[in-house]
Each structure stands twice: as structure tokens, then as C-alpha cells.
Symmetry: D2
Subunit: 404 residues, 4 copies
């Protein structure tokens, strides 16, 4: 049987995570890199008939005037996170992929992100309605699909975090929300426009960022209507992953957490954008909410995310957990997590694309809740216990495999 | 319905953990302390009809000439781990319980532990056969039961870690093992003699230490034969608990662990005994074996346990986990755990007694594998994933409750 | 020779540090506590003829309606930082000292602190001019001196951190500043009024807080004019002490510091007051400025101080120092400091009183720069290298001793 | 004035530190690397007229059959500590320097090191007397000097740590020690033979390792006799540097240290050699002795050094310092140091060569005690306070400069 060709259409296609996904996929195709960090390469998913690394073609949207190669070189030089020799071998492929990347939209992305964009995009933003932006995005995706003879496309949002959208202002029905798209008062931000663009075309959408994306009920309705699937949001890569693993331990041992302090420092573009208090709000909310769900009560919490330039892509988190033991005795657990943010995120993005494509092929529609373990705030899933979330993924895989 | 009276017969009844169990139960009975750290007080176990704190009477064996109160005062003064005012209120009860404590046996406990014992016990050791020691222990337990009009007794081993026993020398059948009990060449150590003493009487036995206890097949056979139950071994309180929670995360995320270093420092009596390389061997083995099972491969590991007098009961662990991310990039997680060892262990001991008594009442026989989450090396359970072990406990509870 | 009687007049006399100073001095007098943490008890200062613990009498100002004993009990119960038995033995002395404590002034202390004060004091603030407040304070001090037949008084400011004063608005000459004291527009805050009150009476003044105190040139002029001495500001107890010790290492080894991040969490009253951004500004400035001086350049720095209630007096600091090694390689030092804030500060306060009294007796006038090692921002001393600052103290002691 | 040509003769010339010194000097000459980590590049030493990077020629002894380039590639690939592009540019120079490196001697270096050596050297060891080995080494050095027309040579020992030598067996007079050199019973190990070889030729000798080197009184006598200078031992790069900076803080603040635990893990060749308990003894002794000197008493200490392969050159140290504050309250400081060992050591080696050559030119003879700040166990210097040691270096520089 001929292999199916799969397109990955990335929003924020030249950011650190996207660049790592891209160089990573090229390296995996060429057999230059190990499988580490890819959940879908675990033995329990071997029988799923997932797309191979060689089946993927990459394209996407970007708002800045940079080259994919330059972005990767940052990760080599500043962060010492990717091997110089590896990148040298992948450069021709990166330059080719660069040509698949089109200008995105700045709708409600906030000042901090707008400042990073090209002048052309800023001018376009003043003129274009959300609907027009969606149409343009759809045309780009369709051209990508046709030109590359792709059997399927999956859209993934990896762009910088937007300021929070007031969800109360978003109409609950798709037909009402659709009407706002022609107006300058449309409450959505870019991430949701991309979601609509994909889902209207019946293309699956994955939101790896804390931005709103496909979360509104009206957009979830659209996904069902167009017979496609989606999931989000906010990839769970480091400190929050730790929380979703450690908090169940404190809960199961009946050790009340009095306070949980988490300080995050890092120096990549994401960090710069989060340096803006507006954008940071969206993120902190996403990192914090799971403790209450897992513990069943709300300890005092503090989450800080600060931009420290020298760290580059190295996200360092220090967490201080103050808990009460037997007879009320206070005890302390602290941890220090030192991981390169983009290299923690990239394999999860590849996993999500493979699993979403497989789910779509399997006929899954609407929210893909079995992907909860990948997200800080999995839409529609109240359970934040990581091991139990992972069991959901394994169960799904068993069912799909049984069906084959 | 009249409450059932339950006896807890503790081996090592004046050690730090036993002293904390004792003062803790007195305080809980009097309503002087919160429920923190007690797994059995979680809502999901509320319907199990477990024994109440007021139902328990404590007795046991000890090899040193100390008083329970003095042991508790150590935890107050040196470790600042228990409140002075609380202890003052519990003193009369402690003094009373002190009288329930009888001299134990030194059979094969190693030099380090023998040095701590009374002269009388050392002399007795030279004369007594294992069988005679067992008979003596059984007489003590039966006297305790009769005198206190107890409906049920549970025996718990909390004594210091013995040097490893060569398991190959222990006969596989109970009838063969029973014969060795009359000989000076009997390969068992004290922990197994206590196990035999309890199980022969049909009394449940819980081994909270890394010593061999009831693990040999022949002793497991005895438990079935006498229609009773048991479980072990080595309470999972701190660093190993963390391992059983963190290692599944690395496994599920396909992040290969290259090395896992764990340094433990503490200054209580347990630490002093473990300072002897022979006794330490038993412990280190128990702390280390779970990584291979969870990860499916064997990273380089290092576990050190060192006696640092100034720390008293405060077990401080520093773990350094070196793992590989996407594209082979090395990343680091370190954690620092600062908990008072006896106060982490004590509530688990109370939990184990309550659950074991309930299981016995329920008719469970042989190994109580559903207790796996409480142990570093749960006998008969290959799964070391803490959350999955905890699910075993919850399932058992649901089944028992359904049966009521 | 008869011992001289020395009074310690504490501003903020019922705060955590003051309470610890008080209970500590009582315990030292009674021989109930070791000398730990007292610099003046080191052998190199043994020949200085410093005042003995028994020579001191304590009084002071406070703005809240609390008792000294209750404050100490907080440190016993919540923070487990002081021994319950010790406090029980000191209670009668504490109750007696309580009576020496008078209401202070709220002049420009900011909303956060005002909210803690008694209604009477808030009303008084509306009526009283700074001059009137100073007069009242002076009367209180003089009454204390007379009543207790004291040979000498030293005033120490231990009150909560005030919002920053714009130093540009403070007249540079004492005669000009003195005129503003009759006006509601007087730019000074309470800490400077206390300084003026003391110095006008020829009484030495020590400012242990980051507030302005005696720092303005005009007040320094007053000290010289009244033939007395003073020093400040901001006691160097934990994280900043570490900085003044570690930064010289990076400087001497030519290892450029790229970024220095310091996160501080704690839960005492000081922490609550610093939770107000206005008051925090004064503190952060003081913690941060020394790096530039020691290193000779300005790395990116971040200092956070957050109120985490469960920690009580336990100030926990996590510092992350990112530095460049040979060939530009980035390396990392992190440290974690866990100390009880009041118990780190209290012995330094006693040291400062003993040394200031001795300096005054020696005829030292104006700024006591030899005390630099005790302060985060030593007035008039540009050198922040801790060891070199300590050498200044030792040299002074040698000179004073030689003179005897 | 024509520049003087200086030779650096390195013992252990292809080890990690030596390879970093070599690639570093090549890079500095070519202007490819910053000055970071070089103490001698600080402004206070600018007027000393030190040798320039371009003045140095490198040669030395090695016992293994490896190439300098391959050793550097390890640091690039495994440890990601040196830049691949930088090494590519330096390769021709490294290959040239490789030819200056001659086989060393295995006299009393212990089994662990012997196993790393070439067969030829092992055979030679069986035949050669210490005297013959010294003669051979001297011939090598002299050939190097002549061939490269060097004005001065400095010998530096960077070889792996030898097992401890029983110093009591080493004669105190040079004339007695000299006699043992002809015998198989000569108590010295290789490091001392190299020292004798250099000093007999009037060439300065620096011992950067914990091995004995030039420490024996008889060898110190030889240095004076031949009118030359020397210093050692054991470069102070990481954890011990931290101790010599932090311990003075605890001493000056009268905060008694109860225990100081230091765990070191790393995975380079040095680590492998130290994995042998014999060799480790020498090292641990050197890391531990300074605490007593600085503090004036001996807290419980623990120093572990363990070989963790995955870490490569990254030495990670975790130190736990348990100290007593006011009223006897226990407090905790922990730190985590993550530095590449070879890159911390290499610039200090270059500093020592520059300063030793300058001291020799200045007429300094015997022990160069002003270099104390560079060493864990500075011969002849009881003061381990880092800042005070650094002041010794600055004073020397001022005197030398004044003399010019």
C-alpha cells in the first residue's frame, strides 16, 4: 500500500518550537537523530499504523521576517541545545521548507506580538476583517495541500501566547459567532481564526499554546458540523508536567499542601512575549489551575515566569512545595528543572500530529480528550493526574488497534 | 454494635517510628492532632468500616533499655519534629504503654544491632534456639491479647534493618524450614522469626522494614495454611516514593534516563544502623530496584545513605536525574526532599494496620498485594508505578465496600 | 568597677526581630541559650570591654496593639523557631519589658503599615506635626533613661519597611531640614523622625531596616553637631549576605555573571508589609545594588520577595547565578537558603548595640563605617565585599583595644 | 624589545584539562575566544608585564596512546562544553602540538592509572629506576627547549591523581632522598619525579593535582638550592572554592556549622581514576581539610566523589550545610554547582604559568605562597579564606609592579 502524504501546517512556523519540530523531522527522516522524547515511538503505540516521519511535509504561517535556518542557529549558538553538525546537514531541507511559509494574521494578538511583525502585516491588519483573514489562511492551506499532493493536513498552533480573551463575550452558537467575523468588534484573537479556518475545511486543529484557539463552544460545534476533530490547549512540557505528577502523590498520601511556589526563568522569544503582563496572564492561569482539581482544595500558589536573556531556550524552574505531615509537621520538597523548552515541546507536537491524523482516519470527531496528557489545560477533561491521563491514551490506542 | 478491640504488636516498639506511631495514636484518640498523612482518612476509604483510633491498644518487643517517653523527647528536642506541649499531654499514656513492651530476639540481627541491645538479651541469644525465641514471642503476644481482651492483633515489624539473608539457603517448603528452627544454623534472621510467630498464631503480619520478614516462599505457605494474611516490605516514605512517581513520567514521555543519583542523609537510630555496610546493603537494594521495572532498562544509578548526626530525624534526599531529550539533548532534574523520617512513616504504619485488620476481617488470605503503594519492594507485585499501585488500593476498597 | 547600665530603645519593639532580641537577651542573661550568631562573642572581640548581656534594659515604640509574649508565641507555634520551654521561662521578664513600650508615630509610613496601627495612633497622626512627634518620642526615651537609671541609651530601628522617600526633596542642611519639621509637607518618614529624636539628644542611632533613617546629609550633620554616632542601613542577614560573599568570588576569578536571579519567600509580618509594591521597592533596591559595585558591571538581575503565609519566619531564598566560564561556556550555581529571618537578625542587632555603645564610649563620632559588614547598604561605604568589610571591623577592634 | 618565548611542559598533556589549556591558548592567540576565567586578565594585573598568549609553546608527557584532537572532540560531543566550530579552526595547531608530547613515567602511579597506559610504558616501568626516569624526562624537556628556542620553560602537573604516598617514609633532606632514586624502594610517586626533574634543571614546577609533587621538604630544599620556584597543590576549581568562600562567612557570623556534606558527581577520565578508592583518598583529604582551619573546629563532614558516566566533564556538586543560628536553631544552606571541570581548571593553569614565569623572572625562589588562592591545599599557607588569599596575590602584584 502506498504511504499517505501528510501535511503539517504550523501557525508560528518560524518560532523556536516550530524550528525544532522542522529540523527534528528532517533529522529523523534522514536517520540522524534518536527517537527520544517521542511518546508515539513507545512500544505500546507500535501497532497503531501511525504516519512515518518520511510521510510529512511542513508549511505554515509566520508574522516575522526571519528565516527558519537563522532561528535554528539561535538554538545552536545561544542555547547550545542543537548540534551544529546536525543543522549543517539539514540546511538545504530547511531552506526548501522556508518557501512554504506564508504571512499570518495579527488579529487581537496584542501589542507585544504586533511589534515583532512585518510592516506589511501591520498594515494588512488595519484593513482586513477576521473573515477576510480566514479566507486568506484557507487559501494558503489549500494551495499547500494541492501543490504537495497531500492526502491530509493537520493544523497546529505554536505561535506566541495572546492576551486573554473575555470568553463571556464570545457567542455560544456557531451561527452567532460566524456573524461577528465580518466586524471589527469580533472578540476572537488570531488563534481562534486559525482554528476556524482549519475546521471549516474539515481539517483537524491542535492548539499547543495557552491561547483560546478552538476552545469556545461555538468553534467546538463547528468541528462536529464539519466532521473533523481538534484538541488543546497548552502543551505540558516541564514545570506543569511535574505538577501533574507530584500533586497526585500529595493527594494520595493525604499530605496537605500549604503552599506551592513555582518560579520559571528563560530567555527565548516566548519568554520575551510573556514578559508583557497581558500575555503572561493567559499563561499563568494555565499553569496554576490544575492544583485545585488534583488536590481538592486550594493551597496558596505563586507562579512567576520571567525573561532572563542569558538562558536562551533553557527553561529553568524552581518549585517549592510546603506540605504538612503527620501531627501537622511542615516539610519541604523543592525541585529544579533544567530543560530546553523547544526540545521538550517539539516531540510532543510531532506526537500530537501523528495521533490526531490517526484519530481523524479512525473517524474520531470533536474533542480528542484522549490526548489530555499532552496539555496543561486539556479542554473537556477535568482529570489532571498525569498517569491517569496517560492511561486514557493507552486505552484509546488499544481500542483503535482492536478495530483494525 | 460494640467496637472491636484491636492490638498493634510492634517489633522495635521503642524506635523512632514506633514512638511516633504511639504518641500519634494517643494524640489522635484525644483529638489533639490533625489527620494529616493518614491515607485511610481520605474520603474514598470512609465507607470501609475501618477500626477507629480509639480501638487500638499498643504493645511489642524491643531490644534496648530505653523508655518510650525518652525516645519521643529526642524527636522533640533534637529534631524539633514533635510538639513539646503535645508530648506533655500524652506522657501518662506513653508510660502505661511502656509496660506492654517485652524483650525481643537478636537472632542474626548483625553486630551493629546487637551492640545496642541489653546484656541479658545478648546472653539469651547465646542459649536460645530460633524455635525457643518464637515460642517466647508467641507467649508474649498471647498474654497481651488476653490481658487486654483484644478481638484481633496485628503484628508490625518496625525494627532496624538486618544484614541481608542469603535467600538461596532458605528452604522453599514450610515443613523443611520448620526443621531448621531448632538448629543454630537456621539461616533466618529475627524479622522472619517474628513473622513465623505471628502467622503460626493466625495473626496478620506487616513488614515495614527492608529485612526479609515473611517474604520467603515457605513463610508465605505458612500464612495460607494458618488462614491469615501478610505483606511487605520496606515502607515507601520519601525518596523512593518520589522515584515511583517520577520514573513513570520519564517512561511515559520516552525521555531516556541516563543516570539517577540519590544521596540520602539523616541522623536517627536507623541511620546509625545503616552506617554499617552490611545493614546498608539490604536497604540500598530496596531503594534501587524499582527503576529498572518502571523504565524497562537500567540507567546508571547510585544510592547513598549516610549518617549525619545533626539532622536527627530529618531525612534529606538530593536526587539528580540526567535524562536525554529530543535530538539526544541532555537535561537535568534535581530535587531536594526534607521530611522527618519517623513522621512520614508513622501514619503509613497506622494505615497498614487498619487496612490489614480490615482485609483479615474480609477474609483476604496470603499476600495483601493491594497494599503495594505503601512499600518500596511490594512482595509479589512487579508494578512500581505509584499511581497504578494506588488504583489497586482503591479498587480493593470498592470491592470490599460493595460486599458489605 | 561598677557595670554601666545600657538601655536599648527599639523602634518596632514588638515585631518579630524585636521580640527575638528581647527573648534572646533575657535567655542569654539567664544562661539559657548558647552564644550562636553573636559576632561580638568571637574571640577577636573578647578584649574590647563590651557591655555584658546583664547590662541591658529594653524599651521602645510600637504602633500595634499586641503583646511581646504573643509575638514570641507566634515564633514558637507557627515557625517552630524558638523553643516553647525557653519562652515559658522568660515570660515574666517579657511581661515586664512590655510595660516599657510606648506608641510610636505613623508619619509617612504608608497605607500598608497604617492599617496595622491602633485607631488612637491613626487619629494622632492627623493632628501631630513631625516636630511634635519627635518631642513625644524624646520624652519617652528620657523617661525610660531616668526611670531605669541608665548610663547610656542606644536607639535601634527595627520597624517595617517604609515606602521610598524621594531623597532629592530632603534639604541638604540641617537648619533647612529642621524647618520642615513643623509642616505637613515634611518629606521625611517616621524612621528619620526617630533618628532625629535620638541624635538631637546625643543618643546613638542604628537603622537596621531599608528605610531612610539617618541617611540624609542633613541628619548626618546633626549627629556630628550633637557629638554622637549612627549607622545604617538594612541588616544583612541572608540572601544579600550570600551575594556579598559569592560575588567577590566571581569577580576574583574573572567569571562574568550573565544573570543573577533571587527569589525570596517568607510569611512573617515583614513579608506582609513588603507585599505592598510601594514598600517592596525600598527593599528590592537595597538587595540589588551591591552586585554592580562588586562585579564592576551590571548583569541582568531579578529580585523577588513574596509573602507565603505557611512559611512564617522561615525565609527561603533560591538564587540562580548564570555565569560564563573559559571559552564563553555558560555554567550555573544555584543555592537555597532556609533560615528563620528573626533569628538571623536578632543577634546582629545585639552586636550593633554593643559595638555602637563601645564606639560612642571610645569617642567615635558621625557614621560608624566599620560596621559595614552588618548592612546591605552601609552608608558611606562603597565596598560590599563581605570579607573586606569584616576586616574593617577587626581593624577597628584592634585600634580600640590598643588605646585602652 | 623582543618577546620572550615561554614553554609550557605539561605532565598529563592529553588529559581533559591539558587539552582544554591547549585548545584554549590556540584560540586566545587567534582571537577566537574571550578572556573569561583568566584571573591574570583582570585589570589589577595589567601592569605586571606578563607573558602574552602568543609567547607560549606547548609540549609534555602523556602515558596513554591518544591524540590531543580526539580528547578535545570528547569535550565537544559528550560534554557539549567546547564549540565544534572553534575546534575545527584549531585542529592544525593541535596536530602540531601533538608531536611535542613524549611518553611519561608510571612510577608508583597505582593500578588504575597503569591500566590506561601503553604496553611499552608498562614494560619500561619494570626496568627503569626513578633516576633513569628523571634523566629521560629531563632530556625530553631540554630537547623541547632547544628545538623551540625557548627562553624559559615552566612544568605543570595535570596528570591523574596518584594513590597517597606515606610522607613519613620520605627522607627530609635532599641528599638522603636523592639516594633513594636509584632504588626500587624509592617511596616517591611519578608526580615527585617530574618535580625533581624540573627543579634540578632550575625550571619552575607547578602541581595542579592532589598528588604529592614538590611538597616534601627535601624537594623544597632542592628548589632553593637550584635557585628556582614552585607551588602546589590541587587546583581549586569548584566545590572547594565555594567552601573557601562560604566557610569564612559562617565563621565571621559565629554561626556554628554542625555538618557539611558535599556530594560530587562527574564522568570524565579524572572521575574514572578517582573511582578507585586508593586514588580517591588523596583527593578527598585535599577537599576536606580546609574547613577545620577556617572554622577553628571540626564539624561532621562527608565528601563523596562518584563517577557518573553520562555527565562527562560536567562536575555537579551538591553541598548541604547544617548550621546553628541564634538560640541554637538549626538552619540549612544547600548549593548546586554545575560547571565543566576542564573549563574551570584550564584558565587557572594558564594563570599559574604566567604568574610563575613572572615570579621566576622577578627572582622569587622556593614556594610561591602568593599563589595560595589557586589551590585547595596551598603548600606552606595555613590561611584558606579565599578573599584573604586573593589579597596575597594582589599585594605581590603591587610589589612586583612597584619594583619595575
Amino acid at each position: 500500500m502506498a504511504r499517505r502524504k501528510i501535511g503539517i501546517w504550523i501557525i508560528g512556523a518560524k518560532g523556536g518550537v516550530a524550528a525544532t519540530v522542522t529540523v527534528g523531522l528532517v533529522a529523523l527522516k534522514k536517520g540522524l537523530a534518536p527517537n527520544h522524547g517521542l511518546v508515539t515511538q513507545l512500544p505500546q503505540f507500535a501497532g497503531l499504523d501511525l504516519a512515518s516521519f518520511g510521510d510529512f511535509t511542513i508549511g505554515g504561517h509566520e508574522i516575522r521576517e526571519v528565516s527558519l535556518y537563522d532561528e535554528v542557529v539561535q538554538l545552536v549558538r545561544v542555547s547550545k541545545a542543537i548540534d551544529a553538525e546536525l543543522v549543517a546537514k539539514c540546511k538545504p531541507d530547511l531552506d526548501k521548507i522556508d518557501k512554504n511559509i506564508k504571512p499570518g494574521t495579527l488579529w487581537n494578538v496584542g501589542n507585544k506580538i504586533e511589534q515583532l511583525a512585518t510592516d506589511d502585516l501591520r498594515k494588512l491588519k488595519a484593513k482586513e476583517t477576521p473573515r477576510a483573514a480566514i479566507d486568506r489562511v484557507q487559501a494558503d492551506i489549500q494551495e499547500f495541500q494541492t501543490k504537495n499532493k497531500l492526502d491530509q493536513v493537520v493544523v497546529v498552533n505554536l505561535s506566541s501566547t495572546e492576551p486573554p480573551v473575555d470568553e463571556a463575550t464570545v457567542p455560544a452558537k456557531w451561527k452567532d459567532l460566524a456573524k461577528t467575523l465580518d466586524k471589527k468588534t469580533c472578540p476572537l484573537a488570531a488563534s481562534s481564526l486559525y482554528a476556524i479556518a482549519a475546521l471549516e475545511l474539515g481539517i483537524p486543529f491542535v492548539n499547543f499554546t495557552p491561547s483560546l484557539g478552538s476552545a469556545p463552544a461555538a468553534i467546538q460545534e463547528l468541528a462536529i458540523e464539519r466532521d473533523t476533530c481538534h484538541m488543546g490547549h497548552d502543551g505540558k512540557t516541564g514545570e506543569t508536567l511535574m505538577k501533574s505528577v507530584l500533586a497526585p502523590m500529595f493527594a494520595a498520601r493525604n499530605l496537605p499542601v500549604m503552599s506551592w511556589v513555582g518560579h520559571n526563568i528563560f530567555g527565548n522569544l516566548d519568554g520575551k512575549v510573556l514578559d508583557d503582563p497581558e500575555n503572561k496572564k493567559t499563561k499563568v492561569r494555565s499553569k496554576d489551575r490544575l492544583l485545585h482539581q488534583i488536590l481538592g482544595y486550594s493551597p496558596q500558589t505563586l507562579v512567576s515566569i520571567e525573561y532572563i536573556e542569558s538562558l536562551g531556550d533553557w527553561k529553568t524552574a524552581w518549585d517549592h512545595i510546603h506540605f504538612q505531615g503527620f501531627l501537622g509537621l511542615p516539610m519541604v520538597l523543592t525541585f529544579q528543572w533544567q530543560g530546553a523548552d523547544s526540545l521538550l515541546a517539539a516531540p510532543l507536537v510531532i506526537d500530537l500530529v501523528r495521533l490526531t491524523e490517526r484519530a481523524h482516519r479512525n473517524g474520531d470527531r470533536g474533542l480528542l480528550t484522549f490526548l489530555a496528557s499532552f496539555f496543561k489545560s486539556p479542554i473537556g477533561v477535568p482529570n489532571h493526574n498525569f498517569v491517569e491521563q496517560f492511561q486514557m491514551l493507552q486505552s484509546w490506542a488499544e481500542k483503535v488497534e482492536a478495530k483494525k
